[in-house]
C-alpha cells in the first residue's frame, strides 16, 4: 500500500513537472472569462505571499476592516531568490497561494506558463485602469483585450541622484543630456573620481536605460516572441556605456556592495542613475553625505526630451487555481489603492505606489532632509509620467539577466564589449525559449 502511494506520488510529480516544462505560450487562446468572477458564499480565507518588509502589518489592517475576507500572510525571500520558483512548484502541486507578489519583469514568465488568473471580470478591476500609472497597467494586461492578470503595486521611475556640493565646487554643470553627462564624466575623472559605476549584475537597470531610449528587448505579435536585445536603440545605449568603460570614466564596483556604499560616502562617485527606491539606499549607505545629494531628471538622449525609464516594481497577481478570485481581486485593489495601505507599505517597505493617487500622499509631498530639503518625490512623480508605456519583458528574464550579466562582467574586465554581451544574450535567450517550446521568431 505504502509503496503504491509512493509510486503514484512520484508519477504525479513527474507528470506535473513534464506538464510544466511542456507548457507553451497561451496568449492567443481563451480571450476572456467574463462573468465568471462571482463572490463566494460566506466568509473566506485567502493566502497572500509577499516579501516586502512590513507587508504583514498592511494585511493585518485589511483583516481588521474585513472580517468576512481574512487574508493569511505568507512570506519568503525576494522573487528571484526563490519565491517565484516556489510559486511554480505550488502551481504544479495545485496548492498555490491565492495571491502573490510578482515583479513586472517576471509576469510574462507566469503568463506563458499559465500561472495567472484573468481577473478582468471581477468587480472594480476593469474600472481601475485609470487609477494606475499608464505603463504599469499595460504591464499587467500585456495589451490583451478583456484581460487583467494582476494589480500594479509599486514602480521604480528612474532619475539622477547627484552630489550637488561636489558639482558646484568643481564648477561642473549638472548634466541634462547624455552628451553632457559624458562631458561631466570626463571632468570628474580629471578630479580623480568617477561619475558613477557600471553595474554588471543589474541587467534590469540597463534595460531601464534602453527603455528610456524608447527601445525594446522583446516583442510579441500574439503568436511568436521576437527577441530584440540587439535592436538599434539597445545598441546605442550599449555603445554609449562601452565608450565610458573604455575611457575609464566609470568604476566597476558592484552595486549595493560595501565598497560601493563607501564610494558614495567618501565622494569617490558623484552620481547614481537610479530608481525612486534608491533614495533609501543612499541615505543608509552614505550617511556622512547628508544634505549634499539632490535629484534631477535622467539625462536625455535629445536636449529638451521628456523620457524616463523604470527599474523595478511589482504587482499583486491572483495565481492560477485560486478558489476565490473575486475576493482576491478585491484585496489586491485595496492593497494597491487605499491611501492608508499605501502609506504603510511605503513607511515599512519603501514601496513607491503605482497608483496615481499614491503620488499625492503626504510622504511624497514632504521635504526630504537628507536631500537638502528638496522635494525629491516630485521629480520622481514627473519621471513616472515620462516612463514610456508598452515596454515588454520576455518570458525567461532570469536566464536573460544571468547570461547578459556574465557578458557585462567580461566587458568590464576588458575581455569584450557590452554589445558582445547583448549578442550572446540574444542567442541564448532564443535558445532558452525554444527549449521551453515557446514559439520564437529566429
Amino acid at each position: 500500500m505504502k509503496s503504491t502511494f509512493k509510486r503514484t506520488a512520484t508519477a504525479a510529480a513527474l507528470v506535473s513537472a513534464l506538464a510544466l516544462a511542456g507548457c507553451t505560450a497561451t496568449s492567443t487562446e481563451e480571450p476572456a472569462a467574463s462573468g465568471e468572477c462571482a463572490p463566494s458564499d460566506g466568509p473566506v480565507t485567502l493566502t497572500f505571499t509577499s516579501w516586502v518588509p512590513g507587508m504583514d502589518q498592511v494585511v493585518a489592517l485589511w483583516n481588521e476592516q474585513n472580517p468576512d475576507i481574512q487574508v493569511e500572510f505568507q512570506t519568503g525571500p525576494s522573487g528571484n531568490s526563490g519565491t517565484y520558483q516556489n510559486f511554480f512548484n505550488e502551481i504544479a502541486a495545485g496548492n498555490a497561494a491565492d495571491l502573490g507578489q510578482i515583479e513586472y519583469d517576471a509576469l510574462p514568465n507566469f503568463r506563458v506558463q499559465d500561472g495567472l488568473e484573468n481577473i478582468a471580470a471581477c468587480a472594480g478591476v476593469a474600472e481601475a485602469s485609470d487609477d494606475f500609472v499608464e505603463w504599469t497597467w499595460s504591464q499587467v494586461t500585456f495589451g490583451e483585450a478583456d484581460a487583467v492578470y494582476a494589480i500594479p503595486q509599486d514602480s521604480g521611475p528612474i532619475a539622477m541622484y547627484y552630489r550637488a556640493d561636489l558639482f558646484e565646487q568643481a564648477g561642473i554643470a549638472v548634466p541634462t543630456t547624455w552628451e553632457e553627462y559624458r562631458v561631466a564624466a570626463e571632468q570628474i575623472a580629471a578630479q580623480g573620481a568617477f561619475i558613477t559605476n557600471f553595474p554588471k549584475t543589474d541587467v534590469n537597470w540597463f534595460a531601464g536605460m534602453v527603455w528610456q531610449n524608447d527601445g525594446q528587448w522583446f516583442a510579441n505579435d500574439g503568436e511568436n516572441w521576437d527577441v530584440q536585445l540587439t535592436s538599434d536603440k539597445s545598441v546605442e545605449v550599449a555603445d554609449y556605456w562601452q565608450a565610458m568603460i573604455d575611457d575609464g570614466l566609470v568604476s566597476a564596483l558592484p552595486s549595493f556592495s560595501d565598497e560601493w556604499n563607501a564610494s558614495f560616502n567618501t565622494g569617490a562617485q558623484w552620481t547614481w542613475i537610479s530608481a525612486v527606491w534608491g533614495a533609501g539606499t543612499i541615505r543608509s549607505g552614505a550617511p556622512d553625505t547628508a544634505g549634499n545629494w539632490r535629484v534631477a531628471p535622467m539625462p536625455q538622449w535629445e536636449a529638451g526630451g521628456e523620457a524616463a525609464g523604470n527599474w523595478g516594481g511589482s504587482s499583486t497577481a491572483v495565481l492560477k487555481g485560486s478558489d476565490h478570485p473575486y475576493e482576491a481581486a478585491q484585496f489586491a485593489l485595496w492593497l494597491n489603492s487605499d491611501p492608508e495601505a499605501l502609506a504603510l507599505a511605503n513607511e515599512l517597505g519603501g514601496l513607491y505606489p503605482a497608483s496615481k493617487a499614491g503620488a499625492t500622499l503626504p510622504v511624497f509631498t514632504a521635504d526630504q532632509e537628507f536631500y537638502g530639503g528638496q522635494k525629491i518625490y516630485e521629480v520622481f512623480a514627473q519621471a513616472s509620467e515620462w516612463v514610456i508605456p508598452n515596454f515588454i519583458w520576455g518570458p525567461t528574464m532570469t536566464q536573460t539577466y544571468t547570461d547578459v550579466s556574465d557578458g557585462f562582467g567580461t566587458a568590464l574586465s576588458g575581455g569584450g564589449t557590452l554589445l558582445d554581451a547583448l549578442t550572446a544574450g540574444q542567442q541564448s535567450t532564443i535558445d532558452a525559449l525554444k527549449a521551453q517550446s515557446i514559439p520564437v521568431k529566429e
Binding site: K6, A9, T10, A12, A13, S16, T47, T49, W51, V52, P53, G54, D56, Q74, T75, G76, P77, S78, S81, G82, Q85, N86, N89, E90, A92, A93, G94, N95, A97, F256, D258, N261, A262, N265, W277, G280, T281, R283, S284, G285, A286, P287, D288, G312, L348, G349, G350, L351
Partner: protein, 302 residues
C-alpha cells in the same frame, strides 16, 4: 661541582639531544605555521562578523572593517536588543525554531541511526546487506535533489508549510546508519550481548543499556553532524515553508537579506543576526567535544 669530568659527557648529551630537537622545532614550527594560517583563514570571517555586529548602521562604510569603534560595547547590546525587538521579535522565534528542528531532529535522528546501525551490525538476517547498501546509496543522493520531490509528495498529504515538513525529512541520516554500523561492529563485542541475553536482558534493553553506552562516541559524532546539517539546511525550508513563524534562522536571514533593497535597515539585522545564529553551533561543539574526544580515546589503550 665536579667540573673536570662532565664537559665531554655534557656536550655529547646535548649534541645528541640537539639533532632531533632541531628537527622537532622545525617541523613543529612548520606545523604551527600551517595551522596558524588556517586558523586565520577560518576565523577572519567570524572576527569580521563579530566586529561588524558591534557597529551602528551608519558606521559600516565609514569605519575600519576589522576593528571596533569606541562605543562598540554599547552599540552591540543596542543592536542585539533591536534585532530581537524587530517585527515583534520574529528573530527569537526563528532561533527557537532552529533549535527545535536541529535539537529534536538530531536527537531522534541519532537514535534511529543507532538502532538501525546496531541491528545491521549485530543481527544476521536475510537481506541485511541489501538494506545496508540501499541506505549507503542514500549517502550519495544530495538532500537538495530530494527537496522538490518531497514538496510534491507533502503537497498531496497537506503537510507543506507545517513544522513536520522540515522535521520529518531531518530524521533520516544514512551517513549516521553507516557510521553506527561500523562502530557497533567494532565496539560492541558479541560476547557481551550473549552474556546479557544469558542474564535475561531483552534485546531492546540490551541495546539501550549496553549498545548505546559502548557506541556513545560515535553517537555524539552523529548527533553533532546531524545537528549542524539541520541547522544549516536551507533549501528544504525554502521550498516547504511560507509562514515566517515556522522559519529556521537560516531562511529568515536569507529572506531579510533579499529585501535590503526595500528596507536598508535590514542590513544591520542580517549581520547581527548571522552572528547570533552561529552562537548555538559553537555552544553545541564546545560542550559536546569533551564527550567526543574522551570517547574516542577510551578503549584504545586497553
Amino acid at each position: 661541582m665536579t667540573t673536570t669530568q662532565s664537559p665531554t659527557a655534557h656536550t655529547r648529551s646535548t649534541s645528541s639531544r640537539k639533532g632531533p630537537m632541531r628537527e622537532n622545532v622545525l617541523s613543529r614550527s612548520a606545523a604551527m605555521l600551517i595551522m596558524g594560517v588556517f586558523t586565520i583563514y577560518f576565523l577572519t570571517p567570524i572576527w569580521w562578523l563579530l566586529v561588524s555586529s558591534t557597529k551602528r548602521l551608519d558606521q559600516f562604510t565609514s569605519t575600519a572593517p576589522l576593528w571596533f569603534t569606541p562605543d562598540s560595547f554599547v552599540a552591540f547590546f543596542d543592536n542585539i536588543g533591536r534585532l530581537f525587538a524587530y517585527n515583534d521579535g520574529i528573530f527569537g522565534q526563528w532561533i527557537l525554531n532552529s533549535v527545535l528542528y536541529s535539537g529534536v531532529g538530531a536527537l531522534l535522528g541519532t537514535l534511529f541511526a543507532a538502532m538501525c546501525g546496531y541491528a545491521l551490525a549485530k543481527y544476521r538476517f536475510r537481506g541485511r546487506e541489501v538494506i545496508f547498501n540501499v541506505v549507503l546509496s542514500g549517502v550519495l543522493v544530495p538532500a537538495t535533489a530530494l527537496a522538490l520531490p518531497l514538496f510534491l509528495i507533502f503537497s498531496q498529504i497537506g503537510l507543506t508549510n507545517t513544522y513536520w515538513a522540515v522535521f520529518l525529512p531531518s530524521l533520516v541520516s544514512p551517513f549516521g546508519v553507516y557510521l553506527s554500523r561500523i562502530f557497533a561492529a567494532a565496539s560492541v563485542p558479541d560476547e557481551l550481548i550473549e552474556a546479557a541475553r544469558l542474564d535475561g536482558s531483552g534485546e531492546v534493553r540490551t541495546f539501550f543499556v549496553l549498545g548505546v553506552r559502548l557506541m556513545s562516541p560515535a553517537l555524539v559524532t552523529i548527533f553533532l553532524f546531524q545537528f549542524v546539517l539541520i541547522w544549516n539546511n536551507f533549501f528544504l525550508p525554502l521550498i516547504m515553508l511560507r509562514d515566517q513563524a515556522l522559519f529556521p534562522v537560516t531562511l529568515g536571514l536569507f529572506a531579510w537579506n533579499s529585501s535590503i533593497g526595500q528596507n536598508p535597515d535590514l542590513r544591520l539585522f542580517v549581520i547581527v543576526g548571522a552572528f547570533v545564529s552561529i552562537v548555538p553551533l559553537i555552544i553545541a561543539f564546545l560542550s559536546l567535544q569533551r564527550f567526543w574526544s574522551s570517547g574516542l580515546a577510551a578503549g584504545s589503550v586497553k
